[in-house]
Symmetry: C2
Subunit: 166 residues, 2 copies
Amino acid sequence: MDYALFFTYLAACVAPAMTGAMFPPGAWYQALRKPSWTPPNWAFPVAWTTLYLLMSAAAARASGFAGAELGLALWSVQIAFNTLWTPVFFGLRWMKVALAVLGALWLAVAATMIAFFRVDGWAGAMFLPYLVWVTVAFALNLSVLRLNPEADASRAGAGSGTGAAG
Amino acid sequence: MDYALFFTYLAACVAPAMTGAMFPPGAWYQALRKPSWTPPNWAFPVAWTTLYLLMSAAAARASGFAGAELGLALWSVQIAFNTLWTPVFFGLRWMKVALAVLGALWLAVAATMIAFFRVDGWAGAMFLPYLVWVTVAFALNLSVLRLNPEADASRAGAGSGTGAAG
């Protein structure tokens, strides 16, 4: 594996990692009703740190194989939508829009994994935990939205669309 | 140029483009003191649409050349930090932190341009307008911060760090 590529891809992960620190869950999220299978708070930074390392290693590894171009382009799509989710959910509290962003992220992660599998088994396999985690995140976003419809700032009449959440 | 790659890279640009719609400047930004050379409001979506097309074409073109791996990895860094800036500036109104994000974005764009120039002149040249625009954006963010220090929600005593801007 090319370490310059690994650390460059890891630098891209700094952007979504920063959203976690800048738009923290806080009291608003803690007060929401959550499903019984919600992972404990400590699991999120642990999972994301692991996933950032795995997805960067996967991209660095795939880069060494011919025909990896599409997978690397899809990698860009997933990191951009990954960066977008946190400000939409925890910043704007637009839970329905955030769910759509997670759906787009899920598709991008699945497509990247398939494209990587076609050039290298290890690169594809390193994306599997990421797809599992985004599936859990999607189910959690959906469940929290259903359990707390009044907390979705993107619903009709919520006075949304002003940019910064009130 | 490979059109599947072009549209995949363009799909990554949808994430930062959405931040512009989700975190609009609004009354807060309009009321800020701005330098005389501030581009008119209509110039921003026009410039960004042009730049998204150019940066996607540059990545699709570079993908066809041997040795483009580092440039493509750097492309991922720039799209992630591009997605991060708008929520930080217009969402949190952390003008100083947003300036640091723009600094990181400038470095990523410059590095991508240099890496692309090393494999293909056209791919590198297509990044030049982007670097110019991010330079203008950095100067504008810095100038607006200096002209409106009281509007920076990340300054000491501003009661920041709560996630959603008040």
